[in-house]
Amino acid sequence: MNVLWLQSGGCGGCSMSLLCADTTDFHGELRDAGIELLWHPSLSLESGAEVTALFDRILDGELPLDALCIEGALLRGPHGSGRFHIMAGTGQPMIHWVSRLAACARHVVAIGSCAAWGGVTAGGSNPTEACGLQYDDEVRGGLLGAEFRAAGGLPVINVAGCPTHPGWVIDTLTALAAGSFNEADLDTLGRPRFFADQLVHHGCSRNEYYEFKASAEKPSDLGCMMEHLGCKGTQAHADCNTRPWNGEGSCTRGGYACISCTEPGFQEPGHPFHATPKLAGIPIGLPTDMPKAWFVALASLSKSATPKRVKVNAVSDHVVVPPVAKRTRLK
């Protein structure tokens, strides 16, 4: 499977994250999966005219392009001209290159939330008119349009995340190369379901604090970060706590809130990221699929039943009260 990887309005962090894929031989793994990187900005030898010659061969139909991977938002400004990113050495806006190459590609893959929705680059006043390949935040459209389908029949595949997890990219490309990825594998936002059907909350190491609503109050506290510190792990679609990052990590394991970076528009939640917005003391963002009345009832019951150990440890940065060690055979 021939893969061309281009970067535009982003930070390059999804490529850097990809290199952290859990393998002892990154290039060997790609090769064994049948993935041929025609060109990648960080990994390939070719520069300058060698690269534009490659683009020409693709556009002329000489070289089949099986997957076009785009990292970074598409910069339409100023005033629709695309001049916020003229691809070096070509005099052409990157959005033109992406549109033309997407028309020749069997699959088009948005790598990361910038390429999927616009992401952080579309934050604030969105000075560059940034958008995703097929979304403008949660609205279908984007650079390629709501109706776009690549030659292989699929809409843009949104491997969202900021950055995206290396495993999400590898698994997506491997399935595409094997011909085993189809429309039923995408969720309603075009994300691969193998990670988007999970919630960040699943496998969260703070689960006991969540159960008892024993909440962290300040950075480095061990408690649940949903009530006060802005954590959206119970709402965000991703498997970050069952497929950890960089070995044993995740945002919540690192002591900071999930900001739901796989969701469109996450960059503008309408409140400061580090604090949970509340209405009458109740968090506005409730766990996915949970009616408010149930949450309120359960939270108040849990709080009244919180063991002292959990209450104390929740506002400490290390275990102050260890669990009691029972000396008998546990039942």
């Binding site: 480095s220 990052w245 960089n246 900071y256």
Partner: protein
């Protein structure tokens, strides 16, 4: 005179275009264009100051932590918050993990592959260079990616993930480390030490760090020339005269790296010029937007009152990057500046003999790997599990502050002003903003632009290999440059 427009320039972070005027086989003048603008300084305006900790790491996927550290320092200065020693050590560990990974990535993935190019096919070292450094297939390239992957598991534990952690807080680290985690982290650091000692250096880190002159370095290479990738590079560098390629402005800037709880820095900073180190006057920094597609209203400005407003049709502009100057002068920043400012005898000797060069920049980066990893072992041992890792603090409704630090590529500064609990202005001057700056109002070219003048261009070359060596010797990060 002929003109070459070189791009896309890959194996730099982000997109880069270089325009070269060439005559008689030499570059006569160069113009450097950072061709992408995202507008972080505009995006940050009006936000809650804490939001900077979410936004600024996403300026850059390769120096993400460096951006976080600068923002956290600016917020700490704003709120008068002091980190506990554990917080300082973890911050340094997280930053050092990224900086050393970046040096490794630069050497194996970005810089060395150019010696595999067909233009060098006649050189005696070419086949071995291809065996070690060919992209995708080179034995050492693949080994380096594997070592890097293991190395970054340090940040899974210390910072949740990399890139784009939010664990770096103005008060320290949100992730307290216990005693058993500390043991595991130390074991992981030693694992990387073994990789560097076996593969990169073919020598103990301490042996490399003790090299104190060019003569000592030469003798070390000659004693066992094929052993380790640094010695192999140094042989290539001799053959291709890299010590004479890509001179710098002769003025070097470091803000000082890895502040210590007891005061001072593990690698002290300052401005190094003509064999002398002077203290840095931060107030003497100005950003000149004359040749950027940005408003230059009010002339060159100190970043504390900096302005970032796109003017896409501005006459005379050729890049999105501003031109920072220190007391009106062009400076170079990076590992070479840190090694000079911290007084390492090998780099002092190299720069005394040759000035800055492609050779000196690469040696400085690898030397830093050898010098900083043992520091990380010390910082891990200095952690006190059970004591605080983060000091809680609050931010005032109004104020101005700066956060300075050293990214892998050099000096990074954030300048922040807050009004009515919102960011009123946020200005970022990144390492490659300095190194790859355009001409200023006086017409003085930036550090790379000047370094490219005189570079050889072989007949028929459209992307001259010497130009590629010079450009990549700075380890540019274009996404940071403009932000």
């Amino acid at each position: 005179m002929s003109r070459l427009i070189v791009g896309p320039f890959n194996r730099v972070e982000g997109d880069l275009e270089v325009t070269l005027d060439v005559a008689e086989g030499r570059v006569v003048s160069a113009h450097v264009n950072a061709p992408m603008y995202r507008g972080f300084e505009q995006i940050l305006r009006g936000r809650d100051p804490h939001d900077a900790l979410v936004y600024v790491p996403r300026i850059c996927g390769i120096c993400s932590v460096s951006q976080s550290v600068a923002a956290a320092r600016a917020l700490a200065a704003l709120g008068g918050i002091t980190m506990p020693p554990n917080g300082q050590h973890v911050t340094n560990l997280v930053l050092a993990t990224e900086n050393l990974a970046d040096h490794l990535t630069h050497f194996y993935l970005f810089f060395m592959p150019d010696f595999v190019r067909p233009v060098y096919a006649g050189r005696p070292w070419h086949a071995e260079a291809a065996r070690r450094f060919a992209p995708h297939t080179g034995e050492r390239v693949r080994a380096a990616i594997a070592a890097r992957q293991r190395w970054f598991t340090l940040l899974g534990t210390l910072a949740g993930k990399w890139p784009h952690t939010q664990s770096l807080d103005p008060g320290g680290s949100t992730r307290a480390i216990d005693a058993s985690e500390r043991s595991r982290l130390l074991a992981r650091v030693r694992e990387f030490r073994r990789f560097l000692e076996a593969v990169t250096f073919g020598a103990a880190l301490e042996e490399v760090a003790a090299l104190d002159s060019e003569a000592a370095l030469d003798a070390w290479v000659d004693a066992d020339p094929q052993r380790g990738d640094l010695r192999f590079f140094l042989q290539i560098a001799r053959d291709t005269a890299l010590a004479a390629l890509g001179p710098g402005p002769g003025r070097f800037l470091s803000y000082g790296a890895y502040p210590q709880p007891a005061g001072g820095h593990a690698l002290g900073g300052g401005v190094w010029q003509a064999g002398k180190l002077s203290p840095l006057d931060v107030e003497a920094i100005r950003e000149d937007a004359t040749h950027a597609w940005l408003s230059d209203e009010g002339g060159a400005r100190h970043p504390a009152s900096g302005l970032t407003e796109p003017v896409a049709d501005k006459p005379g502009a050729y890049t999105w990057n501003k031109a920072p100057r220190l007391a009106g002068e062009v400076v170079e920043t990076g590992a070479i500046a840190r090694q000079l400012a911290s007084g390492h005898p090998l780099v002092l000797d190299l720069v005394r003999r040759h000035g800055a060069s492609v050779h000196g920049r690469v040696v400085s980066r690898l030397l830093e790997l050898a010098r900083v990893l043992p520091m990380m072992e010390d910082w891990l041992r200095a952690l006190r599990p059970g004591e605080a890792f983060c000091t809680p603090g609050s931010l005032p409704d109004e104020g101005v502050a700066a956060g300075l630090g050293e990214a892998a590529r050099g000096s990074l500064g954030h300048w922040l002003s807050v009004r009515e609990r919102r960011i009123a202005n946020y200005q970022i001057v990144a390492p490659t903003t300095w190194n790859f700056s355009p001409r200023d109002a006086a017409g003085r070219p930036g550090a790379l632009e000047a370094a490219l003048e005189g570079a050889p261009v072989q007949p028929g070359e459209t992307t001259p290999v010497a130009v590629q060596h010079i450009v990549r010797s700075f380890d540019p990060c274009m996404v940071c440059t403009v932000h």
